[in-house]
C-alpha cells in the first residue's frame, strides 16, 4: 500500500508522523518533520505581483518569510488566521495560516491520492484526513506574476 516515503519526507528515518491542523473548519495532516513551531498571527506585508493566497512576508528571526493563506490555497475561501505555523520546506521557512493546531499522529500506512495538493489520506480516529503536499502547497513560482 505504502510506496510514498520520499513524498512524505526525504529525511524521515522512522515511522512517519503527521501534524494535524484545522483549516477552514476541516482537518488536514502535514509531515511532522517539516513543522517548526506555531506563533500568534502577525500582519504580513503584502507583495504586489503574487497570487492572492500569498498573504505577504514577515520578518522572522532576521529572515524574510512568506505567509501563505492555506484555506485560499486549497480553494476553501479566505479565512482569517488564528495561528501561523512555521514550516521548513526544502530548507526554506514558510508560515501557513491555520485555525488551530491538533495532535501529532503516527501512521504506518496511508492511502495514495491523485488529488492536487493531497499526497494521500491518513486514518485518525476513523476519519480520513488528507495529507497536504507541502512542496506543491508552498510553490509560489508557478502561479506568480513576474
Amino acid at each position: 500500500v505504502f510506496d510514498g516515503w520520499d513524498l512524505v519526507s526525504e529525511t524521515s528515518p522512522s515511522t512517519p508522523t503527521f501534524q494535524i491542523v484545522a483549516v477552514a473548519g476541516r482537518r488536514f495532516a502535514l509531515d511532522s518533520a517539516a513543522v517548526v513551531s506555531a506563533i500568534d498571527p502577525v500582519a504580513p506585508t503584502h507583495v504586489p505581483g503574487t497570487p492572492a493566497w500569498v498573504r505577504g512576508v514577515i520578518m522572522w528571526e532576521g529572515q524574510v518569510v512568506p505567509v501563505l493563506g492555506t484555506a485560499e490555497r486549497l480553494g476553501l475561501g479566505a479565512v482569517a488566521a488564528r495561528q501561523l505555523l512555521e514550516l521548513k520546506v526544502g530548507g526554506e521557512p514558510f508560515f501557513l495560516e491555520i485555525e488551530a493546531l491538533g495532535d501529532e499522529v503516527s501512521a504506518l500506512d496511508f492511502e495514495r491520492s491523485d488529488q492536487r495538493m493531497i499526497i494521500g489520506f491518513v486514518q485518525v480516529a476513523g476519519e480520513s484526513v488528507p495529507i497536504l503536499d507541502l512542496n506543491l502547497l508552498t510553490d509560489i513560482s508557478d502561479e506568480a506574476a513576474g
Binding site: 502577525v42 506585508t45 507583495v47 504586489p48 512576508v57 512568506p66 526554506e92 506568480a144 513576474g146
Partner: protein, 652 residues
C-alpha cells in the same frame, strides 16, 4: 601554520603584491630609477620571506630570481619592456599563489613555475647571451597554464608563430567518447587548412561525460570559421580563446580573493569605548530594578526610558563602528585594475594611459569586490572599442596616447565612480541603425527616440556596436551585464558621450550594503523603502506640470521633460492617486520620475533578501524592518527603471 594565521598572511601577501604592482607601474613611468628598483627589490624580498614562512618554496624560488633580475637591471638607463612584463607576470603569480591561498586553491603546475624561473634566468643574463631569452620574451604574455603543458618543441613552434605576428587561439572543445576516436584526426586536418596546428592539449573538465581536448592553432581566420570547421569534425566548441594569459581570467586578477579585512586599531578602540559605556548603562539598569522593588514605579519608568534612549544610541554607535570595519580603500583594487588594463592595452597594441583618482575613498569590502568586474569591463571596452589606434587619433588632432580615467568620490552615503575615455565616442546615428537592424526597436519607434534614449539602448541585452569578434573582449558580457552587476549592488549606471570625443560612464552605488539609507514612500495605504543611492531628488508635482494619459506621464523637471510612472502601475496594484511627489531616479540618460503619494521619512535600514520562493518577483530588492515590527518592501530601483523602459519600448 594555523587557519587564522593563513588568513592573516594571505591578507598581508595581497597588500605586498599590490604595493609591488604600484611600484612596477611607477618604474614604467620613470625609467630605471634606482630608488624605485630598490623598493621593488625590498618588496620582492619580503614576499620571498612570506613564501618561505607558509612553505610555498616554489614562489620563494621565483621571488629569488626576480630579485636577481632586478639587481641586474640597476644602473641600466631604462628597463626593457619584456623584463617589466616578466616581473609583472611574477607579481601575478605571487598574487594567485599567496593572496589567494586558502588551502583549497590549486597551486600552479610545477612546469609553470619552472618555466617562469627559466625565463627569469634567461632575462638576467647579459644581453649578448640573450638570443634564446628574446624568444622566451615572445611567450611572456602566454597563459602560463598552457605553456606548462606544451612540450619544448611545441613551445618553440608557438614562439615562431608569435614572432611572425600570427594570432594564436585555443579552441576549447568537448568530445563525446565515441566521437573523439576518429574526430581528432579530422579536426587536425580541418584546422590545418585554416592555419598552423601547434598542439592538442587537455582542457579543464566539464560537468557531464564529455571529454575535453583543446587545439592550439596559429591562424588569421575568423573564430566563426574555426568554430565551423571544428564542429564539422564532430567536436562541440566550448569557446575560441586567445592564448594570451588571463584574457578570460582578468576578473580573478582584479577581484580581491581574501575574505579578511585589516582594521585600524583606532576603530577598534572607539568600539571598545562604546562597549564600556554599555557596561555602565547595565549597572544603571540595576538601579531601575531597585527602584521598582521599592514601589517608585513612575520614577523608575522615567529612569528606564532615559536609559533605553542611551542604549539605542550606543547600539547605533556599535553598528556604525562595525560597519566601519568593513570599509576598505579602493586603492588595491584600482592598482590591480591598472595592471590588467596595461596588459589589455599591450595586446591591443594601442597607447593608453590609465589615470586614477579618488583611490583613497573607503567603501565596504563587498562593494569593492563586486565593483571590480563591471569596472574592468568598462575599462576593457574603453581600450578595445573607445580608444582609437595612434594614427587615427593623430588624424583627428588628438594626442597619440589615449587616456582612460577612473575617478571615485564619496557623495553622502553613496560612492560615485566615473569611467571615461577620450576615444571615438558613441555614434548615436549608428546605434539607432543597429538597434533597428537587430530588432531591438522598430524603425518607427527608433525615429521617435531622442539621443539620450538611443544611448540607453546600449544597455539592452544583445546589443553590441562591435561586430568583429575581438579576442580580448566582446565575449558575450555586454553593458547589460555591467548594469545588472551595478543593479545588484543597489546602484545605477548611466552613459553620456560626445561623438568623436569619448564616453563617460557614471556609476552610483551605496558605500555599504550592511546598511543603506532609505527613503520611505507611501503609495495608497502601502509604504515602501527605496535606497537613497537610487534617488536623485524628489519634488512635488502639480496637475499643471503633469501631462500624458498614463501609464506613461511626463513631468516638467529642471526646464526639461522627464518620463514618469506611477509606482502602483509599475507594480500592478490599485491605488487611487492622491497628491503627487515625483522621486527622480537613475542617472544621465536613464533618468525618470516615479510618482508616489508622499515621502514618509528616511532612515537607515538593513535590507534582507527576499525568500527564494519570491525571488522571481522583480521590483523588490528585499525587505527591511522599520521598528515596531513593521516590515516594508525595499524597491529595486534599477528594475523599476528597466520595467518602465520596457513598457515604453513596447509602445504602452
Amino acid at each position: 601554520v594555523g587557519t587564522v594565521d593563513r588568513a592573516r598572511l594571505a591578507g598581508e601577501a595581497e597588500e605586498l603584491v599590490d604595493a609591488l604592482g604600484q611600484r612596477l607601474l611607477a618604474l614604467e613611468g620613470s625609467g630605471a630609477s634606482r630608488e624605485i628598483i630598490n623598493e621593488c627589490f625590498r618588496g620582492v624580498h619580503t614576499i620571498k620571506g612570506l613564501a618561505v614562512a607558509i612553505g610555498n618554496m616554489a614562489v620563494a624560488e621565483v621571488a629569488h630570481r626576480v630579485e636577481s633580475l632586478l639587481e641586474s637591471c640597476a644602473g641600466e638607463p631604462e628597463i626593457p619592456a619584456p623584463v617589466l612584463d616578466l616581473v609583472h607576470e611574477a607579481a601575478e603569480l605571487f598574487a594567485r599563489e599567496l593572496a589567494g591561498f586558502d588551502g583549497k586553491r590549486r597551486r600552479a603546475a610545477t612546469e609553470v613555475i619552472e618555466d617562469l624561473c627559466a625565463r627569469l634566468d634567461a632575462a638576467t643574463r647579459p644581453a649578448d647571451e640573450g638570443a634564446e631569452a628574446s624568444k622566451r620574451h615572445l611567450l611572456a604574455g602566454v597563459d602560463p597554464d598552457l605553456l606548462g603543458v606544451l612540450a619544448k618543441r611545441e613551445r618553440q613552434h608557438l614562439a615562431e608563430a608569435m614572432s611572425a605576428g600570427t594570432p594564436v587561439v585555443r579552441v576549447l572543445m568537448a568530445w563525446s567518447p565515441q566521437a573523439m576516436r576518429a574526430g581528432v584526426a579530422r579536426v587536425k586536418s580541418a584546422l590545418g587548412k585554416l592555419g598552423e596546428m601547434i598542439a592538442f592539449v587537455p582542457g579543464p573538465d566539464l560537468p557531464g561525460d564529455d571529454l575535453r581536448l583543446d587545439a592550439v592553432l596559429a591562424t588569421g581566420a575568423d573564430p566563426t570559421a574555426v568554430t565551423a570547421a571544428t564542429t564539422a569534425s564532430g567536436a562541440r566548441v566550448v569557446a575560441v580563446e586567445s592564448i594570451i594569459a588571463g584574457a578570460g581570467r582578468d576578473v580573478d586578477l582584479v577581484r580581491s580573493s581574501s575574505r579578511t579585512v585589516r582594521v585600524d586599531i583606532r576603530k577598534i578602540d572607539a568600539l571598545l569605548g562604546a562597549v564600556g559605556e554599555l557596561s555602565v548603562l547595565a549597572a544603571g539598569l540595576g538601579t531601575v530594578e531597585t527602584g521598582l522593588r521599592h514601589g517608585g514605579a513612575v520614577k523608575a519608568a522615567d529612569h528606564l526610558a532615559a536609559e533605553l534612549a542611551q542604549l539605542s544610541e550606543y547600539i547605533v554607535e556599535l553598528q556604525h563602528g562595525l560597519i566601519g570595519f568593513r570599509m576598505v580603500a579602493l586603492r588595491p583594487m584600482m592598482s590591480r585594475l591598472g595592471r590588467v588594463a596595461r596588459r589589455i592595452a599591450q595586446s591591443s597594441e594601442k597607447r593608453v594611459r590609465l589615470e586614477v583618482s579618488g583611490a583613497q575613498t573607503e567603501v565596504d569590502k563587498v562593494i569593492v569586490d563586486e565593483l571590480s568586474e563591471p569596472l574592468l569591463h568598462l575599462v576593457r571596452n574603453a581600450i578595445d572599442h573607445g580608444i582609437e589606434p595612434a594614427a587615427e587619433r593623430q588624424r583627428a588632432g588628438k594626442p597619440a596616447e589615449g587616456t582612460v580615467r577612473i575617478g571615485a568620490r564619496q557623495d553622502g552615503s553613496q560612492l560615485v565612480v566615473e569611467v571615461s575615455d577620450d576615444g571615438r565616442g558613441v555614434d548615436v546615428a549608428r546605434v539607432r541603425e543597429l538597434a533597428v537592424e537587430t530588432n531591438l526597436v522598430s524603425a518607427v519607434r527608433a525615429a521617435t527616440l531622442d539621443d539620450r534614449e538611443v544611448m540607453e539602448l546600449l544597455f539592452q541585452r544583445g546589443f553590441s556596436t562591435c561586430s568583429e569578434v575581438n579576442l580580448v573582449s566582446g565575449r558575450g558580457v555586454g553593458l547589460d551585464a555591467v548594469r545588472a552587476s551595478i543593479g545588484r549592488l543597489g546602484g545605477v549606471i548611466g552613459i553620456s558621450s560626445e561623438h568623436g570625443a569619448g564616453v563617460t560612464f557614471d556609476i552610483r552605488v551605496p558605500i555599504t550594503l550592511a546598511m543603506v539609507h532609505g527613503i520611505l514612500v507611501r503609495v495608497g495605504d502601502r509604504t515602501f523603502a527605496m535606497p537613497v543611492s537610487g534617488v536623485v531628488e524628489s519634488a512635488p508635482v502639480t496637475a499643471d506640470e503633469l501631462s500624458g494619459a498614463g501609464p506613461r506621464f511626463e513631468i516638467e523637471f529642471r526646464k526639461g521633460r522627464l518620463p514618469a510612472y506611477r509606482i502602483a502601475d509599475l507594480l500592478g496594484f490599485e491605488a487611487s492617486p492622491g497628491s503627487m511627489i515625483a522621486v527622480v531616479t537613475g542617472v544621465g540618460s536613464g533618468r525618470l520620475g516615479l510618482l508616489v503619494d508622499e515621502i514618509a521619512g528616511a532612515q537607515d535600514i538593513v535590507v534582507k533578501p527576499m525568500p527564494t520562493a519570491l525571488s522571481k518577483i522583480s521590483y523588490v530588492a528585499g525587505a527591511a524592518e522599520l521598528g515596531g515590527r513593521q516590515t516594508v518592501l525595499v524597491l529595486d530601483v534599477p528594475a523599476l527603471i528597466a520595467a518602465a523602459r520596457d513598457r515604453r519600448d513596447a509602445g504602452v
